[in-house]
Point group: C2
């Protein structure tokens, strides 16, 4: 199935306990589409400035990402800077320079309008709605969101959610959106807003998948070293939605497979800065890590 | 296999966002032995004061907990008070009154000295060592510990760990003990100190089990409402070790079963204050929830 993703393409400056790296290729659209590109040829709708590097464009193209919807305009590419705390879980945003993203109004090409799968990256709900209006008859629409929109653009977000099949968010955001402390109750409340599939991302603790009445728990892969968690959530969503688009199978068991694929792609993402590790993933390493997930979680029936 | 547990029996005062309850039956020895009692008849080594309620003694006896090693002495029973934060994860200790626990020196009965399984609850390492000296030739020794001893009694703790087969601790404690941020590296470092089985407890995120080279991830059961997390860790250990003592099977796959049993017992524990829910658990509810864990975590092989 064809897959269109709308999101940011950015240059990130990331500080971790291991060092500081500036102007790394990042952004939700980048991580999502590079992750999804292991399964389908996603089409990216985004904007960059004149400073966007030819190398980075080539990297995406080499991975089969369709860049017909990547506009290049006068000005600088979106920039974000953040610092991770010692435990690599919490992070503080140091700066956000919207630059060319400030006036971004995503316009889909005729081909993109006929997409069967759509991922609305974490951008303001009015832009997510603007994209949805352009897509003719999508089979599956997934979205991401964040505290900023839950607080500041709640009505717009609720309008989008009514037309969304799957929502990706973290546990704090789920609590903020619904007022429910229990993720079971929060997911149920979100399902009543529209999405029948609610994916609660929990960072190093994996994710919980609420798919209608089906509940599935996928861990994060236990790694010896997390180098840079930036983009893990979008990489997770890219693997998840990319796998569903590839298989065109939305049965509960295949949605579980997709969640495992999402988690394993995220595990590659955090093993390197930016997309360094992610860009070197191949079908064999994916299949190997999937097997590792099976090994990590299997246990036999009870004997008493 | 026979199972002896050394730990505290306490009266807890617990404040949660839902209310405050005083003088609830608690303590690591209580939670562990009540949880283990679903699988074996554990023998409890502990001390209580003159104020220990006959009801509470009867409750433990009714569940098959052997109280020959429960000393009753002049003075008041150990008391602990804590307040849970809004998200029910973090908690602050409001008071600790050691009372009769202050002069507690665990003495095992002749029968207890012949125990094949021993659980050293979270008490000071010198007391854990004192228990170990008394046990003749245990097949399996498990222990719990906490930040207080890692910081303040490190040498004593390391001495105990050299004689321990399994260590239960949370991720913060594992990091504090080893200086490793990655749980994979922390567990490996702990294994070098003695225990071949390292169980990292992660509260609402479940637990990671490092059993020699085998790594297993068990989630916490997704609940609509967590009433009181007090004792969840000891209940987890009680189910885990109780199940191993019952089955006398320490193979990797049975250790995985034991971890699931531990997590499911903990899920019952947090559904009520004190031992209110735990004391009503029966083999059928255990088997049902075990099946729910299988459902929660299973996924098919990859198809691409």
């Amino acid at each position: 199935m064809s897959l269109v993703v709308v999101g940011s393409v950015a240059y990130d400056t990331v500080e971790t306990p291991f060092g500081k790296h500036a102007d790394l290729l990042g952004g939700s659209g980048t991580y999502f589409s590079l992750s999804a590109s292991s399964f389908v040829a996603p089409s990216l709708v985004a904007v960059v400035g004149e400073d966007f590097r030819a190398d980075d464009r080539e990297l995406l193209e080499r991975h089969g990402v369709d860049l017909a919807g990547l506009r290049s305009v006068a000005g600088k590419t979106f920039r974000w800077g953040g610092r991770y705390r010692d435990d690599m879980n919490g992070r503080d945003t140091l700066f956000t320079e919207l630059n060319v993203f400030e006036t971004f109004a995503p316009e889909l090409t005729p081909e993109q309008r006929r997409a069967s799968c759509v991922f609305l990256g974490n951008i303001q709900p009015s832009l997510q709605a603007h994209v949805l209006e352009q897509v003719e008859s999508p089979h599956f629409v997934a979205a991401d969101t964040m505290n900023l929109w839950i607080e500041g653009a709640r009505e717009g977000l609720l309008g989008v959610l009514a037309h969304v099949d799957a929502l990706f968010l973290n546990d704090e955001e789920a609590q903020q959106l619904t007022g429910k402390r229990s993720m079971v109750l929060a997911a149920r409340a979100i399902q009543e807003l529209g999405p029948s599939l609610v994916v609660i991302k929990r960072g190093e603790h994996g994710a919980m998948v609420f798919n209608d009445g089906d509940i599935f728990y996928v861990p994060a892969f236990p790694l010896e070293k997390v180098v840079d968690p930036t983009g893990a959530g979008d990489t997770f969503a890219g693997g998840f939605v990319g796998y569903l688009a590839r298989t065109a199978d939305f049965s509960p068991m295949n949605v579980r497979r997709a969640a495992v694929v999402g988690s394993l792609m995220a595990s590659f993402c955090v093993e390197g800065y930016s997309v360094e590790r992610l860009k070197r993933v191949d079908p064999e390493t994916i299949a190997e890590r999937y097997t590792s997930f099976l090994e990590l979680t299997r246990f036999p029936p009870l004997e008493l």
